[in-house]
Symmetry: C2
Subunit: 258 residues, 2 copies
């Protein structure tokens, strides 16, 4: 069963959706507030990276900050929905999936705090992928018209091409066609993502299922599990379920590259 089935609930007020069970809350003020970009930890990586003062105030006024999270398993936006805003991830995590005609979903990526959601869509009227929360997730909502400013557009160009570069990295990883290498690259990458948010690079909890990892890497989840078991046997990592401990990160990196 897919996570993105009929009982998904969209908690963003008034968000367009094809889900029959969409729950729209009336009380806007209790749900969202204007963003506080001045004090935001992620400002240097976000759209208003280069603006300040009056211009930043104007930008922040147009941005809605959610107060209640998108719950684990819920859909933020669904492939095919009209696209009229970007999101930024403040806390939690998301998976980006492509919904196939047969009902299955194929995982295209994972997003962590600081990430901008929707970079593949400018120029497209419609969301090309579905975004699903992996855990309770807080976001900011940036309507497209707010990004008229020149400095914002330059930053958007930078963010999209940065994402493009990272997708080329992913292409290289997928094209090695060696399961254990793909899994190791994934683990090292996750470690780096945690580290860049000030968390431990050696000890972390993966928010996504092994089935999601497998889908992302183009493998079966059995193979992901077996690969991790093998890495554990070699002492390169320990794990209890999705909790990962890497005693020697450099050793893992070296092992991956030869």
């Amino acid at each position: 069963m897919s996570n993105s089935d009929a009982n998904s609930i969209i908690t963003w007020p008034g968000l367009p959706s094809h889900s029959p069970n969409t729950r729209i809350r009336r009380d806007r003020s209790s749900q969202t507030a204007s963003a506080d970009c001045y004090n935001c930890l992620f400002k240097p990586h976000c759209l208003p990276a280069e603006i300040d003062g009056e211009r930043l105030t104007r930008f922040a006024r147009g941005v809605l900050r959610s107060r209640r999270p998108v719950k684990a398993g819920d859909v933020l936006v669904r492939q095919g929905d009209a696209m009229n805003a970007l999101y930024t991830l403040r806390a939690g995590s998301l998976k980006a999936v492509f919904d196939e005609a047969n009902g299955y979903e194929r995982v295209l990526g994972f997003r962590f705090p600081g990430a901008v959601i929707g970079l593949a869509e400018p120029g497209n009227a419609v969301w090309t992928r579905t975004f699903i929360a992996l855990e309770d997730t807080w976001l900011c909502h940036i309507p497209l018209p707010v990004i008229g400013d020149d400095a914002l557009q330059r930053q958007l160009i930078r963010l999209v091409s940065e994402r493009l570069r990272s997708e080329y990295e992913t292409h290289l990883m997928l094209a090695v066609n060696d399961g254990s290498r793909k899994v190791m690259t994934f683990i090292v990458e996750m470690s780096a993502r945690f580290a860049e948010r000030g968390l431990s690079a050696h000890r972390f909890h993966l928010p996504m299922h092994y089935m999601d990892i497998a889908s992302y890497l183009g493998m079966r989840h059995e193979s992901v599990s077996r690969t991790l078991t093998k890495l554990q046997d070699r002492g390169l990592l320990h794990r209890k379920g999705r909790h990962i401990v890497i005693p020697d990160l450099d050793a893992l990196r070296r092992f991956k590259d030869d």
Copy 2:
């Protein structure tokens, strides 16, 4: 042996390069000219898509149109070179490759007329991939400062996110992990690329080697060859070397999808 070895020759005048044999022609006027964006077939897909009149004239004045081609096998830009211009492809074709430390190259994509080269680099001071001509190739050279205009930036955003969407498609293709499906998807995709340039979708010549296709798809070239032989045996296509004939394109598409 890689194509991007020491005897690569860069025919773009004054282009930075690490190649010892770089040939720089003195006579600029015989090599390049201002672009003629007004009469360019590719304008709707290029950067100045949305500008006209006076603004287009100003843009075109900043753009250099090459008169002599980059020769087959030659390097247009090398990974690590300083990045200060985009290119657009007018005729010919290129491959985008990642140069590995061990000297091997891994193919990340192919570019055909109408494509903009360098979409992954804005925000990066340096080329992240090497571009090599697959056949004699003509380009336009667009210095980054020329893209100050607001409409040009909007179009650049559109182009980069469009490329990002196409990389997500590639991710989906690579993650199916089924050789013959990957090859069929590639052939169908190539057919579409030829068709969109007004050429035959049923009968075309692949400009890249099987080894490049294999590298791009994460396979061995033997497997690419075998897969094509199998498709030929089933009557889904005919080929003589790299010349491909597809008698029934829909049949091939249907076969690929089940």
